[in-house]
């Protein structure tokens, strides 16, 4: 529904602008701070305009190991990327297959399987963190990429979402494919995957952000700086003991940490729209 009234139009645009401004302000403050030198920042209020240190802060963070972290930010970003991609891709792959099995195959205890998956919704990482840590330790997964990824890789949410989508696929479509000689794998690849493109794109964005923003688990499972993620490092940068907080490093790292998620959203958004236009739904 659209209301055609000029006054309303102006008002709503104004409201939008104010909202955007409010959301953008902290980001801008962080960016402004990240371009100042340490001495300029200490003891002052947060600057509103960019400083003259400019991108030197960023170059330093990316190239040289940060003292308090023992590694450079590029490595941190890479670690985060590996973890977030691993979690997103893994979650989608597993959920896709789990939902496929639950919806399209008849096997004993199918119901039970579904409910078991469903129940795990009530058990997020935080609740089961001690036993999960124990298992990870026993499997020698501490300080490793699999250790970062595997415990977070199963997703009841994604399984459930895909199941709901699969249930809307008319049974005749499945039967037509069977008559056309498509076995289970072909059906998955040629029909189900293209049809769930949009859902997968949406899930990927959500799961990537979920993985990227993980804090507690990576904090616990890694002690080696080689496996530290950028989100964990932000907190680490702030704990400096008696010496002043290097705000320019904190803000610059935060700016860098925002990059990949923003990029994923922008890229996927285009794909999203394409998927929406292409598919039948």
């Amino acid at each position: 529904m659209r209301y055609q009234r000029p006054g309303l139009d102006i008002a709503s645009h104004l409201l939008l602008a104010v909202g955007c401004g409010l959301f953008f302000l902290p980001v801008w403050l962080a960016f402004a701070a990240s371009t100042h030198s340490m001495s300029e920042l200490s003891g002052h209020v947060a600057p509103l305009w960019v400083g003259d240190t400019g991108l030197a802060n960023y170059a330093r963070l990316i190239e040289d190991p940060v003292n308090s972290l023992g590694t450079n930010v590029l490595k941190l970003l890479a670690n985060s990327l590996v973890m977030a991609l691993g979690i997103a891709v893994g979650k989608i792959a597993i959920s896709l297959l789990a939902a496929y099995a639950i919806v399209f195959f008849r096997f004993p205890l199918r119901r039970l399987c579904f409910w078991l998956i469903f129940i795990t919704l009530m058990l997020p990482v935080e609740v089961r963190i001690v036993p999960t840590y124990q298992v990870a330790a026993d499997l020698h997964l501490l300080d490793s990429y699999p250790g970062l990824i595997l415990p977070l890789i199963a997703s009841a949410t994604a399984t459930f979402l895909l199941r709901q989508f699969y249930l809307t696929i008319p049974p005749e479509l499945v039967e037509a494919a069977r008559i056309d000689g498509a076995g289970p794998w072909r059906f998955l690849r040629d029909i189900l995957l293209p049809l769930s493109k949009t859902n997968i794109a949406a899930l990927f964005v959500i799961m990537f952000l979920y993985g990227w923003n993980q804090y507690l688990w990576p904090l616990l499972v890694t002690t080696d700086a080689d496996y530290m993620t950028v989100v964990v490092s932000l907190k680490r940068l702030l704990t400096t003991g008696d010496s002043p907080v290097p705000w320019q490093d904190v803000t610059a790292t935060a700016m860098l940490a925002m990059g990949p998620p923003v990029l994923v959203i922008l890229l996927m958004q285009r794909y999203f729209v394409k998927g929406l236009v292409d598919s039948e739904k």
């Binding site: 037509a176 069977r178 008559i179 056309d180 029909i191 049809l195 292409d278």
Partner: protein, 370 residues
């Protein structure tokens, strides 16, 4: 190219419901068999067991004398057209038709040739790049047909393929299906609950009821000599009128007390059902004498339905709850509420016993159909 044999085919669903109670049917090469029956009688179930989409509980299914009970749908060399078409929504028309061939490992060039030839046949050439949602209902239907044809299967299976189309398009597609099936010479089984579709398409008509075959024969044979009261009531529109009658020696006593000369050889007092189609009830022109052995039914007209060429008169007969329907000439002027004298001649009558079975010839003199 292909024959189809069903012997004592039985289907029980996992929930214990038996949808097919032993179906025997032989479909000859190039024949189009139409299956009709009321909703829930097992038409779709039968078709789906033929296709291999449902397992067979007992009995045999053979295509070209080869037992196919345990083969996958793709291995049976059949093609099916679904009621809702079931086109792959994300594929172009071309890919929809090519998909089955691709899966069978047909060479690319061959696929192209066959799809193009089929598209030509169905007048789909200009639509090959479109997605299903960019097509009209009739075009989708043709693509679904194309997907079946392009595979060059042994048997076509149709499950109410035209029921989503409007009346005019249905007539057009009906003719087209008939034309294509004859031209390609493919054996086909066609499920419908549309009377006209069934009568016009069928080489042979199978009437099903509650998981059993009631009767099987050419459409005209079923129309002229329905084997059971059920078939008699099912084939023909509007449905046949049924009058309860009692045997009185050489005559039959009608509900309104009139008597019809008709020797059945049955004992006095036997209860029968007399069936007469609306189109076989006539009116007597003014002043004309009553034909010999005919009996008049004095009825009151309750409702008329002018159809143009014909007018249907729903009339009430004394001693009968259901209306007696007569198909009168469109020119015939009748008004609701008037009395109407219908003539029941000794011809084209159908007699059924208490179990609904048609009375055997030797016991029923009227069975000589003109």
């Amino acid at each position: 190219m292909a024959t189809l044999q069903l012997s004592a085919l039985e289907k029980r669903y996992p929930n214990g419901f038996t949808a097919l109670h032993g179906i025997d049917l032989a479909v000859e090469d190039g024949e189009l068999v139409v299956i009709v029956g009321p909703s829930g009688c097992g038409k779709s179930t039968l078709l789906r067991t033929l296709a291999g989409l449902e397992s067979i509980t007992a009995g045999e299914l053979a295509i070209n004398a080869r037992r196919v009970n345990d083969l996958e749908p793709a291995e049976r060399d059949i093609a099916m057209v679904f009621q809702n078409y079931a086109l792959y929504p994300h594929m172009s028309v071309y890919d929809n038709m090519a998909y089955g061939l691709k899966n069978r490992g047909v060479a690319k060039a061959d696929i192209r040739r066959r799809v193009n030839a089929t598209a030509e046949l169905l007048d789909l050439g200009a639509l090959l790049d479109r997605r299903p949602r960019q097509l009209s209902g009739g075009q989708r239907q043709r693509v679904a047909m194309g997907r079946a044809i392009v595979r060059e299967p042994q048997v076509f299976l149709f499950d109410e393929p035209l029921s989503n189309l409007d009346a005019k398009l249905r007539v057009q597609m009906r003719l087209e299906i008939r034309r294509l099936q004859k031209r390609l010479g493919v054996t086909a089984v066609y499920v419908t609950h549309d009377q006209t579709e069934a009568m016009t398409l069928a080489d042979r008509l199978v009437v099903m009821n509650a998981g059993r075959v009631e009767q099987c024969g050419t459409p005209m044979a079923l129309y002229d000599r329905p084997a059971t009261r059920f078939v008699a009531g099912f084939i023909g529109s509007p449905a046949m009128n049924f009058l309860p009658v009692t045997v009185r020696g050489e005559r039959l006593e009608l509900p309104d007390g009139g008597e019809l000369d008709l020797a059945t050889g049955l004992d006095d007092g036997a209860e029968l059902t007399l069936g007469v189609r609306p189109e076989h009830l006539t009116t007597l022109p003014d002043g004309a004498a009553m034909p010999a052995s005919a009996v008049a039914l004095d009825t009151r007209v309750e409702l008329i339905e002018p159809l143009g060429a014909d007018t249907l008169a729903y009339t009430r007969l004394a001693g009968l709850d259901e209306p007696v329907v007569a198909r009168l000439d469109g020119e015939h002027a009748v008004a609701e509420g008037q009395t109407l004298r219908l003539v029941l001649t000794g011809e084209r009558l159908h007699l059924f016993d208490a179990e609904g079975q048609r009375l055997a010839e030797r016991r029923c003199a009227v069975d000589v159909v003109s």
